[in-house]
């Protein structure tokens, strides 16, 4: 596979969220505002790209028995960097994201890419695969948060778009809407893929 193919496959064709149903926790939790989603997505891309690169770099020296632990620690180290960066530069966003930044560690997408790709492939390819998976994840976040912020607050990235008479849909601010929107999104994409397969 060329590098471009690796990226496209991991970002769209085998997208972690809608094809493999991974990383749902944070997908749902941070999508009430577009800004939060974007920052979260960038954090995941950063942690994913660097951890897959590192894991792939030391893949031949890691004994199989401690592989999982080593991967978790590497991921953990990068997530701590993300957390510290956010606290320093974007304290407001960091407060709103709360524990979900730390939860990137247990985000199955990171472990999934480490196990499925980085443990067998060259560092640079793994990094591209990681960035691809991160971009795919961020896309899903942005789509869901676009709908939730627009209907729930009448704004996009905090900027008012809906007119004066707009009444906020309070359900979009609450938890259930995230479940519904993600479900409908997976439904739509599945249907599209089914058609293409036939």
């Amino acid at each position: 596979m060329t590098k471009k193919e690796i990226f496209v496959v991991s970002a769209f064709k085998d997208n972690s969220v809608w094809r493999q149903i991974l990383g749902i926790c944070s997908t749902l939790a941070v999508t009430n505002l577009m800004l939060n989603s974007l920052i979260m997505g960038l954090g995941v891309i950063f942690a994913l790209a660097l951890s897959t690169f590192t894991i792939s770099l030391i893949r031949e020296y890691t004994p199989r028995s401690v592989r999982m632990m080593a991967q978790t620690l590497i991921i953990g180290a990068y997530v701590i960097i993300v957390d510290i960066l956010l606290k320093a530069w974007l304290p407001d966003v960091s407060k709103q994201l709360g524990p979900y930044v730390g939860l990137i560690i247990t985000n199955c997408i990171l472990m999934g890419r480490a196990e499925a790709f980085a443990a067998q492939n060259k560092p640079l390819d793994s990094m591209i695969d990681g960035i691809g998976a991160g971009v795919g994840y961020t896309l899903v976040l942005l789509v869901i948060s676009f709908i939730r912020e627009l209907l729930g607050f009448g704004t996009l990235f905090g900027v008012r778009v809906m007119g004066e008479g707009w009444i906020n849909w309070s359900i979009m601010v609450m938890a259930p809407s995230a479940f519904f929107i993600l479900a409908l999104m997976i439904w739509a994409i599945n249907t599209y893929y089914y058609k293409e397969a036939k």
Partner: protein, 195 residues
């Protein structure tokens, strides 16, 4: 602060259910909920591990990380504590209660990567809970998770997959069911919210 452990316990089950309002532990929730029995097994294991690790991580944070001023290592230390505890539990159960090991054992490795466990540890640091509050919050969150996965497993058991549109089968319909459950749980939120 200021919420009694008793209130916190009930609130964690109903008004701020870890799964239905905080979306934690979704991965294993979606994949294991096909059968009621295995859901119950995993739920019980999660509840137990959550209660103990909430207490352990509270102590680690309070007596080791804070005095040494290395709170930034929280993420890694918490994960290690959880992984080590699960591993230890697996060994003990296998050695002394083999029957339980065969019914529950397969779920134990799944628990380390269950974000509900890690999430609860992070929540209790962020919200400044005391020791008893942490244990109550951990136990309540675990039971809330057990309740949610049992409900979904029960509904999925009765669901006739054939009547569901092809693209909606599997994860998507589970998400919609969960959404409706979450809506129903909002009804509890007038009682006491945890912040």
């Amino acid at each position: 602060m200021g919420i009694t452990p008793f209130v916190l316990f009930w609130a964690a089950i109903f008004t701020s259910n870890i799964l239905l309002t905080n979306f934690l532990g979704m991965c294993s929730y979606l994949s294991v909920s096909k059968e009621v029995e295995s859901s119950a097994g995993l739920g019980i294991a999660v509840t137990f591990v959550l209660t103990v690790t909430a207490g352990l991580n509270w102590m680690v944070n309070e007596y080791i990380l804070v005095p040494l001023k290395i709170e930034y290592l929280q993420f890694i230390v918490f994960i290690i504590v959880i992984a080590a505890f699960v591993q230890l539990l697996e060994l003990i159960i296998e050695r002394y209660v083999p029957a339980l090991y065969y019914s529950l054992g397969i779920f134990l490795p799944l628990i380390t990567v269950n974000c509900a466990i890690f999430g609860v540890s992070l929540f209790l640091v962020i919200r400044n809970y005391g020791f008893l509050q942490s244990i109550a919050f951990g136990a309540g969150s675990g039971l809330g998770w057990l309740l949610a996965i049992l409900m979904l497993a029960g509904i999925r058991h009765r669901l006739k997959e054939k009547l569901v549109p092809a693209g909606l089968r599997g994860a998507s319909i589970s998400l919609i069911i969960t959404g409706i459950m979450a809506l129903a749980f909002i009804g509890f939120s007038g009682i006491q919210a945890v912040q």
